[in-house]
Symmetry: D3
Subunit: 136 residues, 6 copies
Amino acid sequence: MYLTRRAEFSASHYYHDPALSPEENARVFGKCSNLNGHGHNYTLEVTVKGKIDAKTGFVVDLKQLKDIMNREVVDAMDHRHLNKEVPEFAKLVPTTENLAIVCWHRLQPKLKDAELHRVRVYESHDLFADFYGEDQ
Amino acid sequence: MYLTRRAEFSASHYYHDPALSPEENARVFGKCSNLNGHGHNYTLEVTVKGKIDAKTGFVVDLKQLKDIMNREVVDAMDHRHLNKEVPEFAKLVPTTENLAIVCWHRLQPKLKDAELHRVRVYESHDLFADFYGEDQ
Amino acid sequence: MYLTRRAEFSASHYYHDPALSPEENARVFGKCSNLNGHGHNYTLEVTVKGKIDAKTGFVVDLKQLKDIMNREVVDAMDHRHLNKEVPEFAKLVPTTENLAIVCWHRLQPKLKDAELHRVRVYESHDLFADFYGEDQ
Amino acid sequence: MYLTRRAEFSASHYYHDPALSPEENARVFGKCSNLNGHGHNYTLEVTVKGKIDAKTGFVVDLKQLKDIMNREVVDAMDHRHLNKEVPEFAKLVPTTENLAIVCWHRLQPKLKDAELHRVRVYESHDLFADFYGEDQ
Amino acid sequence: MYLTRRAEFSASHYYHDPALSPEENARVFGKCSNLNGHGHNYTLEVTVKGKIDAKTGFVVDLKQLKDIMNREVVDAMDHRHLNKEVPEFAKLVPTTENLAIVCWHRLQPKLKDAELHRVRVYESHDLFADFYGEDQ
Amino acid sequence: MYLTRRAEFSASHYYHDPALSPEENARVFGKCSNLNGHGHNYTLEVTVKGKIDAKTGFVVDLKQLKDIMNREVVDAMDHRHLNKEVPEFAKLVPTTENLAIVCWHRLQPKLKDAELHRVRVYESHDLFADFYGEDQ
């Protein structure tokens, strides 16, 4: 049994590799290389896996899951600049892929009763990344 | 090859464990413990798996699949109170997780030509449960 | 200038006129006449109208608008049974139309800086009611 | 007859009034006052009004409308920082309301065959502003 | 009080003016001039206006409105070729604008208890036409 | 790590087996057997799988992926009649299932840096097919 919950946050970011020249950054990252930053309404989608508790009918306490998602991701990233204010992105390019990995590592240690199965991050309606953990 | 079809229904429910005191029910189930009930526009998403028929190009006869979904789930649950009118929930808490399992067991025996792969139930845009059957 | 903000809540209801026989209620209200109730994920959409404040660029303080919508409507109706728990519906059928009017009368007196222009209530993706106030 | 076309762009912004202290900016603009900026996937919705051309069945040449929307708004704002790269916002707070007005003034002079009726800007699914021009 | 209901249908069409040469048709209508036809999932959105019946809480009997929409539009256009199978388009280009007008004239005479206020037709998420009747 | 990108196209089609009589075609394919054709706004959803490039943070160059999707599928099918203008459907019924397979075979040989994992095609909001390649 898998249960999935969504949350949204709005953030800005840019793509930049300090080892590259401005021209190379523009070639590799296109419009995303603009150092003024641009932004998105991100959707975070967290899937946990587990057995249903026979008493409650829950795989996971939804209130707890929501609190963990808010505390570990939404509060830390909403209305923030990912490159400048989220420590993991001080040196890591905040692509949708890397954002999914960062969210996984923020959420996974906090989940006690259920196993984290997948983190999906939508940058827009038309683009999203799925991460299932390093072991898979 | 996997084919997925959606259907919607509107129902009400509440979460309640008769073995618990009112206070404990409120603590475990929060706002969902209100015995007056509340409701949702549910989305049922049924995925079947199979080989494509070379003549028709179909994995499953969509008309038949739609009829089965309507007869076994939508007609039985739409504009109903899940706890009071759907027999499976007489003693089972109608969480999204349990609803996915109940839909699976209603649909699976009726599907002849294709194998049921997954039942997904959305309680809202932000919350859904996936069930792949007991064997998986 | 018009500004619109949305909020969601989940509630249950039924349609019933005590002056009618059960058969007449069934004929007039169809599936909605089921006294066990059924439910929806409602979307409330509130539009205010006003001049933009030259300093802030706001027609209305969004935080205040959100607080008013939550306090007057969402907190009072979310995870509730409209007929049984929202006083306005003790004798009034909680149709989408009447729900829009009730929300208008709950919100309008609380809005200070901006004029309430329209209340829209979606019962589902496919059905919604718009109310612009009695004077129009 | 009214025809409406949508386009999307991703941008970052912040809300700041240089005449206010940091504390006052934080109080007035909340999370939006973060000078690192944050961002959104904006949706621009442009409605034109006119008579249908009896030959073509069009109120407006859709290709031309799309080109104007792309040139005047999308190309100028997509993957940009509104405060830093869109001249109108050098001193104007880029709220959703002001963004709708700025888009109006960019689009209106370019529309030849049809009259601009409304500019709607969605900052997110839950928040949008409508502008109908100064004369209304 | 305004009530709006949506319905969907899938149809194909092309844009062609027999008075024009193939080259002129291609120039005026672009990709839509392909005589093999192409298609869309259309959404029809019908808004009626009226007083609320004090007994029922309805502006309009929703079952009747749905039946009229299905009979007059959906059954006549769903899984059809608009140019070839819908008589109004034998000589009229089936643009979104003209489709809104045709739907208006099919629906308006059938509505007894409520006044037709607006017909909106979505050709896609990003394009729609609104018609309010000839008198407006 | 999986990355998914969406694109849309509008096309028309019909379902027909020349070995069957008109009556049998009508029975097997229902409304889809109308030889005038009908149409849809299709959504193509392409998922690629791979390791993240440590420098760029990308699994795949999004610009390249978009170009391949446009060139191989969107440009070839948008505003087209699938049966008449897409060679693969000269003899193959263009069901959602077969469309997913055809898109797979058009896209897979063009993807160099990342592995094609899944092609999903939505015919409408309520119906979609997933194809993971012949080997799975």
